[in-house]
Amino acid sequence: MTPEEDGQIRARQKARAIVTGLLLGALVILFYAITIAKIGGGH
């Protein structure tokens, strides 16, 4: 594997890790909001 190929893989992995992190953060907020809505008798 050439350094260019290795760099390409690392860049792709980093981008995916960032997106996964953001999605997990969004899910934490969503589940918190769902919990508050349910406790508040919103449904």
């Binding site: 893989i9 792709r12 909001a33 508040g40 449904h43």
Partner: protein, 306 residues
């Protein structure tokens, strides 16, 4: 690890699929109509739903549709490679391996159904699960490669969102969501066959038995007209059954009359050159607007009545 084998000079290495390709796998553009009809089902339903839970229910409908689209592309990667319109999708273009698409689709399916059950109710979750299973197993795997009537029954998969949206609020399924289901169900054949008329060459190359390929264009034009007539009855049913008021009634009457006029133009034509199929393209584009208009009218009507 989602990856695709990339051959370079003298070496082979695997590069992980780009996150954008996972988004592309969910067919975000097709999702618009699914989300809109689901939202309309939710807004037209009687009762109150907490905005956070309503948002989550719509999110689940979108994720479920995306999961079904991913599984569809996992199964049809070979077919997609043969069609110009679909050859650049992540799987046929070699930017993602099939296993990653399968894992993504199955994972997203379970997630969307479970989240719907937790946030809304388990009836809505069950209907969502049925719609995903129907799209993947009944339409994609069973009907699509076997019969020219594939989209008639398969179209039911796309008709579920208003039922899911309604069920998420009320916890039941009554006459209006069933009427809305029937409207999308009978709208699907003229909508897709209008498209199939001017992309016929692509379906033929992939060996998909679309109606114009199997029965010819004249038969397709007759089928479009026939299903438009049934769709017209389905469109007027909510008014006749007094489930909606004059706003929907007027919109449905005028909108369906224009739909029938465009379908009649398509029926009378004998053009086989896709480049000269302006009326067919017009019918296809209008069919999308038509569904937006009628579903929007249902919501406005119900809100005015409330």
């Amino acid at each position: 690890m989602a990856s695709s084998p990339i051959m370079s000079e003298g070496s082979a290495f695997t590069i992980p699929a780009h996150w954008r390709d996972f988004v592309a796998l969910t067919k975000p553009r097709v999702m618009t109509l699914v989300v809109f009809t689901g939202l309309c089902g939710l807004l037209a339903a009687p009762g109150h739903m907490h905005p956070v839970l309503a948002f989550t229910a719509i999110l689940c409908i979108a994720l479920g549709a995306g999961a079904a689209a991913a599984l569809n592309q996992w199964y049809e990667a070979d077919i997609d490679a043969k069609m110009k319109r679909t050859a650049n999708r992540p799987l046929p273009a070699g930017r993602m391996d099939r296993q990653s698409a399968l894992h993504f689709g199955v994972g997203l399916s379970f997630f969307s159904v479970l989240l719907m059950g937790i946030a809304a109710n388990w009836l809505a979750a069950a209907v969502l699960a049925v719609s995903i299973l129907f799209y993947v197993f009944v339409y994609t795997i069973w009907l699509k490669p076997r019969t020219a009537q594939n989209i008639v029954i398969g179209g039911a998969a796309g008709a579920f969102p208003p039922v899911i949206g309604w069920a998420a609020v009320t916890g039941d399924i009554s006459a209006l969501p069933i009427a809305l289901f029937m409207l999308i169900f009978f709208w699907t054949p003229p909508h897709f066959w209008a498209l199939a008329l001017f992309v016929k060459t692509d379906y033929a190359a992939a060996g998909i038995p679309m109606l114009p390929v199997v029965s010819g264009e004249v038969a397709t034009r007759r089928h479009i007209w026939f299903y438009t007539a049934i769709m017209a009855v389905a469109a007027m049913a909510p008014v006749l059954l007094r489930l909606t008021g004059p706003i929907y009634g007027t919109t449905a009457l005028l909108g369906t009359a224009l739909f029938a006029l465009l379908a009649f133009q398509v029926l009378r034509r004998r053009e086989s050159d896709p480049a000269r199929m302006a009326p067919e393209k017009r019918l296809f584009k209008y069919s999308i607007l038509y569904l937006f208009l009628l579903f929007g009218a249902v919501v406005v009507d119900r809100w005015v009545a409330a």
